[in-house]
Symmetry: C2
Amino acid sequence: MTDTHNRSGASPPASKIVSPTYEGDFVLGEPLLLECGASLDCPTLHYAVYGRLNAARDNAVLVCHALSGSALVGSWWPEIFAPGAVLSLEHDFVICINMLGSCYGSTGPASMNPQTGQSYGPDFPLVSIRDNVRAQARLLDSLGIRRLRLVLGGSIGGMQAIEWTIQHPERVQRTLVIGVAPLGAMGLALNHLQRQAIQHDPEWEGGRYLPQKPPRNGLALARQIAMVSYKSPPLFEERFGRRPNRNGEDPWQTGNHGSGLIGGRFDIAGYLDHQGQRFIDRFDANAYLAILRAMDTWDPVRNYASPDEAYSRIRARVSFVGISSDWLFPADAVRRFAEEIRAAGANVDYREMNSDHGHDAFLAEQAELVRLLQ
Amino acid sequence: MTDTHNRSGASPPASKIVSPTYEGDFVLGEPLLLECGASLDCPTLHYAVYGRLNAARDNAVLVCHALSGSALVGSWWPEIFAPGAVLSLEHDFVICINMLGSCYGSTGPASMNPQTGQSYGPDFPLVSIRDNVRAQARLLDSLGIRRLRLVLGGSIGGMQAIEWTIQHPERVQRTLVIGVAPLGAMGLALNHLQRQAIQHDPEWEGGRYLPQKPPRNGLALARQIAMVSYKSPPLFEERFGRRPNRNGEDPWQTGNHGSGLIGGRFDIAGYLDHQGQRFIDRFDANAYLAILRAMDTWDPVRNYASPDEAYSRIRARVSFVGISSDWLFPADAVRRFAEEIRAAGANVDYREMNSDHGHDAFLAEQAELVRLLQ
């Protein structure tokens, strides 16, 4: 039941990828105190930069990545660097920082816990969106960047972008937030499903799995659950319909085909399995859980007396983009979030991206996104 | 991490339940040849009846149940028996038959395979929707019922209802089909996720688990995935929002609480876990997989030269109901399905149920459904 036919992936063609000017690590010189009460000893932030910082140091742009992204924004969001698009390699100094808890270079569950000499694994503390923003601010301090022309991101990246405007109002001139609002009950439900998929895998071992023996089935299923929530029924219908899997399997066959799973697949199932397999080769299960938790717990008004107290801090001009077919962060929820911030006196605009690509549209339809923003 | 607080379930209060006039088994006197090429040796159909068959034998109504339903329609759909509602205990003879492959009395994976002397388990053959209808027709033959005043059902029950009108056009006067169309790519995707949840459970054992040691975590997760697709974001938002679990868990806690899962839950997660637990006490994993496969493979025009050839057979008046917030079978898909059948010349009407309850609305908002049908 392996896929012998090629399936198009979400990754852009290599020819489009934009290479960073520099990619490296920044180590905080002191512990990072976390909202949850724990702290991280001198964590590492892995980051990439594109373009050059000008003498006035006023051309910096911060891109915040989503759940499974990395600091290499030029690899996963290349079209926003196109001439005349959102960012300019000539004029901007673009920086993107891998989130704490991730597995692309910054301190995360696979990193060594200095207190035990072993990897954190499931004991990695909850590093919230706000904690991430605080760490990112220190990295920018170290580069002598006080002010950001623009902070932008989609999904969890957008959570960080809004958090920047609230925590560091004097440092952000403009913010662009795509396909995000505080996670609603349905989003929390979907994350709960994914968490179970991973933690019920027998290879999970309470999070103490060996790097060479991770909970592959569980992480693959979690990714598939996520993919379903990132896409849309019309997109799946158009691409896959009710066709049998392209490798010739017959959904009417119910026998065991030797893969451990029973029965022939439809094409959509073959696609999802393929996406799951691709993901387990590039992501760590504990890191996935850590970032889901940051996503779940994000509440921009937490510890403020009122939403108004939080949002009235904002000085940046804030642009929101909702995606018409987004199931995870419905456009209506994004619009209401934008209105709530506007009601507190902030300079807010809202646009809607008309797309069948669901939540993924900000990555899958970059040219459309760029057009909408122009 | 157990739930100490009561959670409202989907089941109606006991006071509303309508008791059957008779509940019993019918055994086919010959093998049931299946579409897949296999056959079932003299399978049993468990059924329940409500009211009395009149002398003319022309007051029979067939109710077809959905995925996890049983023959006891008076227990799971009591309000359609209310005075003046859809069915009349005084005038109708209502019959409901447990699907083959299910675990509520009809032959299914837990039944003994006469060829091996052991339960079928994962070797239970694919019994399609059409196979089920053929078996149901034999049961009605045995009761001397040639003609049905009405065949009705929601979800998979609606698949059976439409199949009845195509396979036995002369026997059906009217059909009522709620929240269903041939399963689209998104529905196939959701079923694929559920299948993996069960089949990756270490207790699954290739489907040869012992009755006392079933794949509980896997079946519970499958049920939760299904629940998410049966409900809607607005309903979850209203009921659960972003509140922590009602037993006092703190979603900011990430430690292991002894349950094997890590971290405090939100209320929506506690609800889903509760639904999963309720389900594993009442349903069998192999039966669940068998019915998912029947749902996946249902194609009412299979083996006909064209949709028109299939649908032009229909003589019944066909009423469709779409549910505005249905994610699994979107109202648009139901409406298009109705239009396709109408285009073949059948007498078709379509109504839409305006509800935030998602696919489940036909069970969760029975009074609304009854109102719409009056």
